[in-house]
Amino acid sequence: MFFILLISPLFTGVIRKIKSKIQHKIGASVFQPYYDLIKLLKKDLVVSNTSSWIYNVAPYVYFITSLAAAMCLPVVYQLRGFSLYTDLLVIVYFFVAGRIFMALAGLDTGSTFGGMGSSRELLISALVEPALFLIIITVGANPEIASTSVFSIYDYVVENSSNTFSTINILLFAAMLMVMIAESSRIPVDDPSTHLELTMVHEAMTLEYSGRHLAFIEMGTYIKQLVFMTFMANILIPLGLNAESLIVGLGIYLLKIVVITILVGVIEINTVKFRLFSLPNYAVIALIIAVLGFLTRFVLR
Protein backbone atom coordinates (compact mmCIF):
# COMPACT_ATOMS: atom_id res chain seq x y z
CA MET A 1 0.00 0.00 0.00
CA PHE A 2 2.69 2.48 0.99
CA PHE A 3 4.69 1.17 -1.91
CA ILE A 4 1.86 2.08 -4.30
CA LEU A 5 1.48 5.44 -2.56
CA LEU A 6 5.16 6.15 -3.07
CA ILE A 7 5.64 5.09 -6.66
CA SER A 8 2.29 5.93 -8.24
CA PRO A 9 3.15 9.51 -9.36
CA LEU A 10 6.27 8.13 -11.01
CA PHE A 11 4.32 6.33 -13.70
CA THR A 12 2.32 9.38 -14.69
CA GLY A 13 5.71 11.04 -15.09
CA VAL A 14 6.87 8.10 -17.20
CA ILE A 15 3.82 8.35 -19.48
CA ARG A 16 4.47 12.07 -20.00
CA LYS A 17 8.15 11.42 -20.69
CA ILE A 18 7.35 8.70 -23.25
CA LYS A 19 4.87 10.96 -24.99
CA SER A 20 7.36 13.78 -25.30
CA LYS A 21 10.12 11.38 -26.41
CA ILE A 22 7.90 10.13 -29.25
CA GLN A 23 7.21 13.71 -30.26
CA HIS A 24 10.99 14.44 -30.26
CA LYS A 25 10.72 16.78 -27.32
CA ILE A 26 12.85 16.60 -24.21
CA GLY A 27 9.93 16.61 -21.79
CA ALA A 28 9.73 17.22 -18.08
CA SER A 29 11.59 15.03 -15.65
CA VAL A 30 10.05 11.72 -14.66
CA PHE A 31 9.78 13.06 -11.12
CA GLN A 32 7.81 16.15 -12.12
CA PRO A 33 4.51 14.86 -10.57
CA TYR A 34 6.28 14.67 -7.19
CA TYR A 35 7.48 18.27 -7.49
CA ASP A 36 3.97 19.35 -8.44
CA LEU A 37 2.50 17.56 -5.45
CA ILE A 38 5.02 19.10 -3.07
CA LYS A 39 4.35 22.54 -4.53
CA LEU A 40 0.59 22.08 -4.19
CA LEU A 41 0.92 20.91 -0.59
CA LYS A 42 2.76 24.13 0.30
CA LYS A 43 0.13 26.42 -1.19
CA ASP A 44 -2.83 28.06 0.50
CA LEU A 45 -6.40 26.87 0.14
CA VAL A 46 -9.01 28.98 -1.57
CA VAL A 47 -12.50 27.82 -0.65
CA SER A 48 -15.64 29.28 -2.15
CA ASN A 49 -18.09 30.91 0.29
CA THR A 50 -21.08 29.09 -1.17
CA SER A 51 -19.65 25.61 -0.72
CA SER A 52 -20.77 23.13 1.91
CA TRP A 53 -18.88 20.51 3.92
CA ILE A 54 -18.87 18.10 0.95
CA TYR A 55 -16.46 20.37 -0.86
CA ASN A 56 -13.93 20.15 1.97
CA VAL A 57 -14.38 16.44 2.60
CA ALA A 58 -14.41 15.14 -0.98
CA PRO A 59 -10.64 15.27 -1.72
CA TYR A 60 -9.85 13.31 1.42
CA VAL A 61 -12.59 10.75 0.70
CA TYR A 62 -11.29 10.35 -2.84
CA PHE A 63 -7.72 9.90 -1.65
CA ILE A 64 -8.61 7.49 1.15
CA THR A 65 -10.88 5.31 -0.98
CA SER A 66 -8.16 5.05 -3.63
CA LEU A 67 -5.68 4.10 -0.95
CA ALA A 68 -8.11 1.53 0.46
CA ALA A 69 -8.46 0.01 -2.98
CA ALA A 70 -4.67 -0.12 -3.25
CA MET A 71 -4.69 -1.92 0.08
CA CYS A 72 -6.92 -4.64 -1.35
CA LEU A 73 -4.59 -5.58 -4.17
CA PRO A 74 -1.17 -6.86 -3.10
CA VAL A 75 1.76 -5.74 -5.21
CA VAL A 76 3.93 -8.82 -4.77
CA TYR A 77 2.82 -12.17 -3.53
CA GLN A 78 5.05 -11.95 -0.47
CA LEU A 79 3.69 -8.53 0.50
CA ARG A 80 0.07 -9.48 0.96
CA GLY A 81 -0.38 -7.72 4.29
CA PHE A 82 -4.03 -7.40 5.24
CA SER A 83 -5.29 -8.22 1.79
CA LEU A 84 -6.07 -11.78 2.70
CA TYR A 85 -9.83 -11.78 2.72
CA THR A 86 -10.82 -8.90 0.48
CA ASP A 87 -12.78 -9.26 -2.70
CA LEU A 88 -12.00 -7.82 -6.12
CA LEU A 89 -15.48 -6.31 -6.35
CA VAL A 90 -14.74 -4.27 -3.23
CA ILE A 91 -12.05 -2.41 -5.19
CA VAL A 92 -14.64 -1.29 -7.73
CA TYR A 93 -16.95 -0.08 -4.99
CA PHE A 94 -14.16 1.87 -3.31
CA PHE A 95 -13.56 3.67 -6.57
CA VAL A 96 -17.27 4.30 -7.03
CA ALA A 97 -17.50 5.80 -3.52
CA GLY A 98 -14.65 8.19 -4.21
CA ARG A 99 -16.07 9.12 -7.56
CA ILE A 100 -19.52 9.86 -6.13
CA PHE A 101 -17.97 12.28 -3.65
CA MET A 102 -15.98 13.97 -6.40
CA ALA A 103 -19.10 14.33 -8.52
CA LEU A 104 -21.00 15.83 -5.58
CA ALA A 105 -18.13 18.22 -4.91
CA GLY A 106 -18.17 19.25 -8.56
CA LEU A 107 -21.83 20.17 -8.18
CA ASP A 108 -21.36 21.75 -4.79
CA THR A 109 -19.88 25.14 -5.63
CA GLY A 110 -22.48 25.73 -8.29
CA SER A 111 -19.99 26.66 -10.99
CA THR A 112 -21.07 25.85 -14.51
CA PHE A 113 -18.10 23.63 -15.33
CA GLY A 114 -18.39 21.54 -12.17
CA GLY A 115 -21.83 20.17 -12.93
CA MET A 116 -20.84 19.47 -16.52
CA GLY A 117 -17.75 17.58 -15.43
CA SER A 118 -19.69 15.59 -12.85
CA SER A 119 -22.30 14.47 -15.32
CA ARG A 120 -19.67 13.48 -17.88
CA GLU A 121 -17.60 11.60 -15.34
CA LEU A 122 -20.61 9.63 -14.13
CA LEU A 123 -21.57 8.86 -17.73
CA ILE A 124 -18.09 7.49 -18.45
CA SER A 125 -18.07 5.44 -15.27
CA ALA A 126 -21.48 4.00 -16.06
CA LEU A 127 -20.31 3.12 -19.57
CA VAL A 128 -17.17 1.22 -18.62
CA GLU A 129 -18.55 -0.42 -15.50
CA PRO A 130 -20.16 -3.43 -17.28
CA ALA A 131 -16.85 -4.30 -18.91
CA LEU A 132 -15.00 -3.95 -15.61
CA PHE A 133 -17.43 -6.20 -13.75
CA LEU A 134 -17.36 -8.76 -16.52
CA ILE A 135 -13.56 -8.86 -16.40
CA ILE A 136 -13.55 -9.43 -12.65
CA ILE A 137 -16.27 -12.08 -12.88
CA THR A 138 -14.38 -13.85 -15.69
CA VAL A 139 -11.23 -13.94 -13.58
CA GLY A 140 -13.23 -15.49 -10.77
CA ALA A 141 -15.34 -17.79 -12.94
CA ASN A 142 -12.50 -20.23 -13.41
CA PRO A 143 -13.85 -23.51 -11.96
CA GLU A 144 -10.64 -23.90 -9.97
CA ILE A 145 -11.10 -20.52 -8.27
CA ALA A 146 -14.88 -20.04 -8.23
CA SER A 147 -14.68 -16.88 -6.17
CA THR A 148 -13.59 -13.29 -6.63
CA SER A 149 -11.62 -13.19 -3.42
CA VAL A 150 -8.18 -11.69 -3.98
CA PHE A 151 -6.57 -14.35 -1.84
CA SER A 152 -7.80 -17.37 -3.79
CA ILE A 153 -7.16 -15.69 -7.14
CA TYR A 154 -3.59 -14.91 -6.14
CA ASP A 155 -3.01 -18.43 -4.94
CA TYR A 156 -4.30 -19.86 -8.18
CA VAL A 157 -2.36 -17.38 -10.31
CA VAL A 158 0.91 -18.04 -8.50
CA GLU A 159 0.54 -21.77 -8.91
CA ASN A 160 -0.28 -21.53 -12.62
CA SER A 161 1.86 -18.60 -13.66
CA SER A 162 3.37 -20.61 -16.52
CA ASN A 163 0.04 -20.36 -18.36
CA THR A 164 0.46 -16.63 -18.92
CA PHE A 165 -0.50 -16.05 -22.53
CA SER A 166 -3.74 -17.96 -22.48
CA THR A 167 -6.50 -16.76 -24.76
CA ILE A 168 -8.67 -15.54 -21.93
CA ASN A 169 -5.88 -13.57 -20.31
CA ILE A 170 -5.05 -11.76 -23.53
CA LEU A 171 -8.68 -10.87 -24.24
CA LEU A 172 -9.20 -9.66 -20.69
CA PHE A 173 -5.97 -7.69 -20.83
CA ALA A 174 -7.12 -5.86 -23.96
CA ALA A 175 -10.48 -5.07 -22.37
CA MET A 176 -8.85 -4.01 -19.12
CA LEU A 177 -6.46 -1.71 -20.95
CA MET A 178 -9.42 0.15 -22.42
CA VAL A 179 -11.18 0.27 -19.06
CA MET A 180 -8.02 1.51 -17.39
CA ILE A 181 -7.62 4.30 -19.91
CA ALA A 182 -11.21 5.41 -19.33
CA GLU A 183 -11.06 5.14 -15.54
CA SER A 184 -7.79 6.96 -15.06
CA SER A 185 -8.89 9.73 -17.47
CA ARG A 186 -6.25 9.30 -20.14
CA ILE A 187 -6.40 10.58 -23.69
CA PRO A 188 -8.99 8.86 -25.89
CA VAL A 189 -11.58 9.45 -23.19
CA ASP A 190 -10.41 12.50 -21.33
CA ASP A 191 -7.47 14.81 -21.84
CA PRO A 192 -5.67 15.23 -18.53
CA SER A 193 -3.39 18.06 -19.59
CA THR A 194 -5.69 20.68 -21.12
CA HIS A 195 -8.20 23.00 -19.61
CA LEU A 196 -10.31 23.45 -22.68
CA GLU A 197 -13.95 23.46 -21.75
CA LEU A 198 -14.99 21.07 -24.52
CA THR A 199 -12.51 18.36 -23.69
CA MET A 200 -12.18 18.31 -19.95
CA VAL A 201 -14.01 15.77 -17.86
CA HIS A 202 -12.07 15.09 -14.72
CA GLU A 203 -10.53 18.56 -14.72
CA ALA A 204 -13.93 20.22 -14.92
CA MET A 205 -14.89 18.62 -11.62
CA THR A 206 -11.69 19.60 -9.90
CA LEU A 207 -11.45 23.05 -11.42
CA GLU A 208 -12.45 24.81 -8.20
CA TYR A 209 -9.84 23.07 -6.07
CA SER A 210 -6.49 24.46 -5.10
CA GLY A 211 -3.58 23.79 -2.81
CA ARG A 212 -3.72 20.83 -0.49
CA HIS A 213 -7.10 19.63 -1.75
CA LEU A 214 -5.87 19.50 -5.33
CA ALA A 215 -2.78 17.60 -4.26
CA PHE A 216 -4.93 14.93 -2.63
CA ILE A 217 -7.16 14.65 -5.71
CA GLU A 218 -4.17 14.28 -8.02
CA MET A 219 -2.65 11.72 -5.73
CA GLY A 220 -5.93 9.78 -5.68
CA THR A 221 -5.98 9.68 -9.47
CA TYR A 222 -2.37 8.49 -9.64
CA ILE A 223 -3.09 5.72 -7.15
CA LYS A 224 -6.20 4.66 -9.01
CA GLN A 225 -4.25 4.36 -12.24
CA LEU A 226 -1.55 2.28 -10.58
CA VAL A 227 -4.13 0.00 -8.95
CA PHE A 228 -5.60 -0.80 -12.36
CA MET A 229 -2.12 -1.36 -13.77
CA THR A 230 -1.31 -3.65 -10.84
CA PHE A 231 -4.43 -5.65 -11.55
CA MET A 232 -3.35 -6.05 -15.16
CA ALA A 233 0.26 -6.85 -14.31
CA ASN A 234 -0.39 -9.32 -11.52
CA ILE A 235 -3.59 -11.12 -12.40
CA LEU A 236 -3.80 -10.91 -16.17
CA ILE A 237 -0.07 -11.33 -16.94
CA PRO A 238 1.05 -13.44 -13.99
CA LEU A 239 4.50 -13.93 -15.51
CA GLY A 240 7.10 -14.15 -12.77
CA LEU A 241 4.67 -13.66 -9.91
CA ASN A 242 5.97 -16.85 -8.31
CA ALA A 243 9.50 -15.45 -7.88
CA GLU A 244 11.03 -16.63 -4.66
CA SER A 245 12.73 -13.50 -3.39
CA LEU A 246 11.03 -10.21 -2.69
CA ILE A 247 13.52 -8.12 -4.66
CA VAL A 248 13.20 -10.19 -7.84
CA GLY A 249 9.42 -10.11 -7.53
CA LEU A 250 9.39 -6.33 -7.15
CA GLY A 251 11.76 -5.95 -10.09
CA ILE A 252 9.56 -8.05 -12.35
CA TYR A 253 6.51 -6.15 -11.17
CA LEU A 254 8.10 -2.78 -11.96
CA LEU A 255 9.20 -4.07 -15.35
CA LYS A 256 5.66 -5.17 -16.23
CA ILE A 257 4.20 -1.86 -15.07
CA VAL A 258 6.71 0.03 -17.20
CA VAL A 259 5.73 -2.08 -20.23
CA ILE A 260 2.05 -1.26 -19.64
CA THR A 261 2.98 2.41 -19.21
CA ILE A 262 4.79 2.43 -22.54
CA LEU A 263 1.73 0.82 -24.14
CA VAL A 264 -0.50 3.57 -22.70
CA GLY A 265 1.91 6.26 -23.87
CA VAL A 266 1.97 4.88 -27.42
CA ILE A 267 -1.84 4.65 -27.49
CA GLU A 268 -2.10 8.24 -26.27
CA ILE A 269 0.22 9.46 -29.00
CA ASN A 270 -1.63 7.62 -31.74
CA THR A 271 -5.18 8.64 -30.86
CA VAL A 272 -7.05 11.85 -30.40
CA LYS A 273 -9.58 12.75 -27.77
CA PHE A 274 -12.95 11.28 -28.74
CA ARG A 275 -16.13 13.24 -28.89
CA LEU A 276 -18.26 12.59 -25.84
CA PHE A 277 -20.88 10.93 -28.02
CA SER A 278 -18.31 8.51 -29.45
CA LEU A 279 -17.61 7.13 -26.00
CA PRO A 280 -20.40 4.51 -26.13
CA ASN A 281 -18.59 3.05 -29.15
CA TYR A 282 -15.37 2.93 -27.17
CA ALA A 283 -17.10 1.34 -24.20
CA VAL A 284 -18.86 -1.25 -26.33
CA ILE A 285 -15.55 -2.47 -27.78
CA ALA A 286 -14.21 -3.03 -24.26
CA LEU A 287 -17.45 -4.75 -23.31
CA ILE A 288 -17.46 -7.03 -26.35
CA ILE A 289 -13.86 -8.09 -25.83
CA ALA A 290 -14.66 -8.84 -22.20
CA VAL A 291 -17.76 -10.82 -23.27
CA LEU A 292 -15.61 -12.85 -25.64
CA GLY A 293 -13.21 -13.57 -22.80
CA PHE A 294 -16.12 -14.56 -20.58
CA LEU A 295 -17.56 -16.91 -23.19
CA THR A 296 -14.13 -18.36 -23.98
CA ARG A 297 -13.86 -19.32 -20.32
CA PHE A 298 -16.67 -21.82 -20.84
CA VAL A 299 -15.60 -23.04 -24.28
CA LEU A 300 -11.91 -23.67 -23.64
CA ARG A 301 -10.88 -26.13 -21.03
Binding site: S166, T167, L171, N281, V284, I285, I288, I289, L295
Partner: protein
Protein backbone atom coordinates in the same frame (compact mmCIF):
# COMPACT_ATOMS: atom_id res chain seq x y z
CA UNK B 1 7.07 -20.24 -26.58
CA UNK B 2 6.14 -20.38 -30.28
CA UNK B 3 2.61 -21.44 -29.41
CA UNK B 4 2.24 -18.57 -26.95
CA UNK B 5 3.31 -16.06 -29.60
CA UNK B 6 1.01 -17.60 -32.22
CA UNK B 7 -1.90 -17.54 -29.78
CA UNK B 8 -1.24 -13.91 -28.91
CA UNK B 9 -1.02 -12.87 -32.57
CA UNK B 10 -4.18 -14.79 -33.54
CA UNK B 11 -6.19 -13.04 -30.81
CA UNK B 12 -4.73 -9.69 -31.77
CA UNK B 13 -5.93 -10.29 -35.34
CA UNK B 14 -9.42 -10.96 -34.02
CA UNK B 15 -9.31 -7.80 -31.88
CA UNK B 16 -8.04 -5.78 -34.84
CA UNK B 17 -11.02 -6.93 -36.90
CA UNK B 18 -13.26 -5.66 -34.11
CA UNK B 19 -11.40 -2.39 -34.27
CA UNK B 20 -12.13 -2.31 -37.99
CA UNK B 21 -15.86 -2.61 -37.41
CA UNK B 22 -15.77 0.10 -34.75
CA UNK B 23 -14.04 2.52 -37.12
CA UNK B 24 -15.87 5.38 -38.78
CA UNK B 25 -13.37 6.86 -41.19
CA UNK B 26 -11.84 5.47 -44.36
CA UNK B 27 -8.26 6.23 -43.32
CA UNK B 28 -8.93 4.34 -40.14
CA UNK B 29 -10.02 1.30 -42.15
CA UNK B 30 -6.80 1.37 -44.15
CA UNK B 31 -4.61 1.74 -41.07
CA UNK B 32 -6.38 -1.14 -39.33
CA UNK B 33 -6.02 -3.33 -42.41
CA UNK B 34 -2.32 -2.56 -42.52
CA UNK B 35 -1.99 -3.46 -38.85
CA UNK B 36 -3.86 -6.71 -39.34
CA UNK B 37 -1.68 -7.68 -42.31
CA UNK B 38 1.41 -6.93 -40.25
CA UNK B 39 0.18 -9.31 -37.55
CA UNK B 40 -0.50 -11.93 -40.23
CA UNK B 41 3.03 -11.47 -41.60
CA UNK B 42 4.44 -11.95 -38.10
CA UNK B 43 2.47 -15.20 -37.80
CA UNK B 44 3.95 -16.52 -41.04
CA UNK B 45 7.42 -15.47 -39.90
CA UNK B 46 7.02 -17.33 -36.62
CA UNK B 47 5.71 -20.46 -38.37
CA UNK B 48 8.60 -20.48 -40.84
CA UNK B 49 11.23 -19.87 -38.14
CA UNK B 50 9.69 -22.63 -36.06
CA UNK B 51 9.82 -25.19 -38.87
CA UNK B 52 13.32 -24.05 -39.91
CA UNK B 53 14.61 -24.50 -36.37
CA UNK B 54 12.93 -27.88 -36.05
CA UNK B 55 13.89 -29.43 -39.41
CA UNK B 56 17.02 -27.34 -40.13
CA UNK B 57 15.87 -26.92 -43.72
CA UNK B 58 14.77 -23.91 -45.75
CA UNK B 59 11.05 -23.31 -45.39
CA UNK B 60 8.94 -21.73 -48.13
CA UNK B 61 6.70 -19.90 -45.69
CA UNK B 62 9.36 -17.22 -45.32
CA UNK B 63 8.70 -16.23 -48.94
CA UNK B 64 5.05 -15.83 -48.00
CA UNK B 65 6.19 -13.55 -45.18
CA UNK B 66 8.06 -11.33 -47.63
CA UNK B 67 5.11 -11.34 -50.03
CA UNK B 68 2.63 -10.38 -47.31
CA UNK B 69 4.87 -7.56 -46.10
CA UNK B 70 5.41 -6.22 -49.62
CA UNK B 71 1.84 -6.49 -50.88
CA UNK B 72 -0.52 -6.34 -47.94
CA UNK B 73 1.45 -4.07 -45.63
CA UNK B 74 3.00 -1.70 -48.17
CA UNK B 75 1.55 -1.77 -51.70
CA UNK B 76 -2.19 -2.31 -51.23
CA UNK B 77 -2.66 0.12 -48.31
CA UNK B 78 -0.68 2.76 -50.20
CA UNK B 79 -2.80 2.28 -53.32
CA UNK B 80 -5.95 2.41 -51.20
CA UNK B 81 -4.77 5.61 -49.54
CA UNK B 82 -4.13 7.11 -52.96
CA UNK B 83 -7.60 6.05 -54.14
CA UNK B 84 -9.29 7.50 -51.10
CA UNK B 85 -7.37 10.75 -51.55
CA UNK B 86 -8.37 11.01 -55.20
CA UNK B 87 -12.09 10.40 -54.88
CA UNK B 88 -14.01 13.32 -53.55
CA UNK B 89 -14.12 13.18 -49.80
CA UNK B 90 -17.41 13.90 -48.15
CA UNK B 91 -18.08 13.33 -44.49
CA UNK B 92 -21.15 11.18 -44.62
CA UNK B 93 -22.48 8.47 -42.41
CA UNK B 94 -20.88 5.42 -43.88
CA UNK B 95 -22.72 2.60 -42.17
CA UNK B 96 -26.21 1.14 -42.18
CA UNK B 97 -26.17 -0.21 -38.63
CA UNK B 98 -24.77 1.89 -35.82
CA UNK B 99 -21.52 0.86 -34.22
CA UNK B 100 -22.60 -0.61 -30.85
CA UNK B 101 -25.18 -2.85 -32.52
CA UNK B 102 -22.76 -3.98 -35.21
CA UNK B 103 -20.22 -4.81 -32.51
CA UNK B 104 -22.83 -6.94 -30.75
CA UNK B 105 -23.64 -8.68 -34.03
CA UNK B 106 -19.94 -9.41 -34.58
CA UNK B 107 -19.75 -10.92 -31.10
CA UNK B 108 -22.71 -13.08 -32.08
CA UNK B 109 -20.81 -14.14 -35.20
CA UNK B 110 -17.86 -15.28 -33.11
CA UNK B 111 -20.20 -17.30 -30.90
CA UNK B 112 -21.75 -18.81 -34.02
CA UNK B 113 -18.30 -19.79 -35.27
CA UNK B 114 -17.58 -21.47 -31.94
CA UNK B 115 -20.81 -23.41 -32.21
CA UNK B 116 -20.15 -24.47 -35.78
CA UNK B 117 -16.50 -25.43 -35.32
CA UNK B 118 -17.36 -27.32 -32.15
CA UNK B 119 -19.63 -29.58 -34.18
CA UNK B 120 -17.08 -30.33 -36.88
CA UNK B 121 -15.85 -33.86 -36.43
CA UNK B 122 -12.20 -34.74 -36.67
CA UNK B 123 -10.65 -31.77 -34.90
CA UNK B 124 -8.84 -33.39 -32.04
CA UNK B 125 -6.45 -30.65 -31.01
CA UNK B 126 -8.16 -27.90 -28.95
CA UNK B 127 -5.63 -25.25 -30.04
CA UNK B 128 -6.36 -25.98 -33.71
CA UNK B 129 -10.05 -25.61 -32.96
CA UNK B 130 -9.30 -22.30 -31.29
CA UNK B 131 -7.33 -21.00 -34.27
CA UNK B 132 -10.02 -22.18 -36.66
CA UNK B 133 -12.63 -20.27 -34.67
CA UNK B 134 -10.60 -17.08 -34.82
CA UNK B 135 -9.88 -17.28 -38.51
CA UNK B 136 -13.50 -18.14 -39.35
CA UNK B 137 -14.63 -15.23 -37.18
CA UNK B 138 -12.32 -12.88 -39.06
CA UNK B 139 -13.86 -14.11 -42.33
CA UNK B 140 -17.39 -13.62 -41.00
CA UNK B 141 -16.59 -10.16 -39.60
CA UNK B 142 -15.11 -9.20 -42.97
CA UNK B 143 -18.32 -10.29 -44.67
CA UNK B 144 -20.38 -8.36 -42.16
CA UNK B 145 -18.16 -5.32 -42.70
CA UNK B 146 -18.76 -5.56 -46.46
CA UNK B 147 -22.53 -5.56 -46.10
CA UNK B 148 -22.68 -2.90 -43.41
CA UNK B 149 -20.76 -0.16 -45.27
CA UNK B 150 -22.16 2.05 -47.97
CA UNK B 151 -18.95 3.18 -49.65
CA UNK B 152 -17.10 1.06 -52.19
CA UNK B 153 -13.80 1.58 -50.38
CA UNK B 154 -15.12 0.01 -47.19
CA UNK B 155 -16.31 -2.96 -49.19
CA UNK B 156 -12.86 -3.45 -50.72
CA UNK B 157 -11.37 -3.46 -47.21
CA UNK B 158 -13.98 -6.02 -46.17
CA UNK B 159 -12.90 -8.24 -49.05
CA UNK B 160 -9.25 -7.92 -48.08
CA UNK B 161 -10.08 -8.78 -44.48
CA UNK B 162 -11.90 -11.93 -45.62
CA UNK B 163 -8.74 -12.81 -47.51
CA UNK B 164 -6.70 -12.25 -44.33
CA UNK B 165 -9.01 -14.58 -42.42
CA UNK B 166 -8.63 -17.30 -45.03
CA UNK B 167 -4.86 -16.94 -44.94
CA UNK B 168 -4.93 -17.18 -41.16
CA UNK B 169 -7.04 -20.34 -41.30
CA UNK B 170 -4.76 -21.93 -43.87
CA UNK B 171 -1.56 -21.08 -42.05
CA UNK B 172 -2.68 -21.94 -38.55
CA UNK B 173 -4.17 -25.32 -39.37
CA UNK B 174 -1.60 -26.62 -41.87
CA UNK B 175 1.65 -24.86 -40.82
CA UNK B 176 1.91 -23.30 -44.27
CA UNK B 177 0.18 -24.33 -47.47
CA UNK B 178 2.08 -25.43 -50.60
CA UNK B 179 3.83 -22.51 -52.22
CA UNK B 180 1.87 -22.68 -55.47
CA UNK B 181 -1.50 -22.36 -53.68
CA UNK B 182 -0.36 -19.30 -51.77
CA UNK B 183 1.02 -17.66 -54.92
CA UNK B 184 -2.28 -18.34 -56.69
CA UNK B 185 -4.16 -16.74 -53.81
CA UNK B 186 -1.93 -13.69 -53.98
CA UNK B 187 -2.43 -13.15 -57.69
CA UNK B 188 -6.17 -13.64 -57.27
CA UNK B 189 -6.14 -11.01 -54.57
CA UNK B 190 -4.15 -8.54 -56.61
CA UNK B 191 -6.35 -8.94 -59.66
CA UNK B 192 -9.51 -8.54 -57.61
CA UNK B 193 -8.02 -5.51 -55.92
CA UNK B 194 -7.07 -3.89 -59.24
CA UNK B 195 -10.52 -4.49 -60.72
CA UNK B 196 -12.22 -3.08 -57.65
CA UNK B 197 -9.94 -0.05 -57.67
CA UNK B 198 -10.95 0.66 -61.24
CA UNK B 199 -14.59 0.24 -60.25
CA UNK B 200 -14.21 2.82 -57.50
CA UNK B 201 -12.92 5.38 -59.99
CA UNK B 202 -15.70 4.51 -62.41
CA UNK B 203 -18.41 4.82 -59.77
CA UNK B 204 -16.87 8.06 -58.58
CA UNK B 205 -16.68 9.61 -62.04
CA UNK B 206 -20.27 8.59 -62.86
CA UNK B 207 -21.99 9.51 -59.62
CA UNK B 208 -19.62 12.07 -58.01
CA UNK B 209 -19.46 9.83 -54.94
CA UNK B 210 -18.41 6.29 -54.10
CA UNK B 211 -21.63 5.55 -52.26
CA UNK B 212 -22.83 2.30 -53.80
CA UNK B 213 -26.42 3.08 -52.83
CA UNK B 214 -26.49 5.45 -55.79
CA UNK B 215 -26.01 2.49 -58.12
CA UNK B 216 -29.73 1.93 -57.65
CA UNK B 217 -30.35 4.75 -60.11
CA UNK B 218 -28.75 2.65 -62.84
CA UNK B 219 -31.93 1.39 -64.40
CA UNK B 220 -32.45 0.91 -68.08
Amino acid sequence: MYNNALNLLAILILISSFRLVANKRQNGYITTFRLQSLLLALISLIISVKSMVETKKFDEVIIIFVLIVVFKVIVIPMALRKTSDKVEYKVEKDFFINIPISMLLCCGLVVLCWYVVHHVEGITNPTTENYLVYSLSVVMIGLFFMISRKKALGQIIGFLVIENGLFLAAMMTTDGMPMIVELGLFFDLLTAFLIMGIFVFKINSTFDSIDVNKLKHLKG
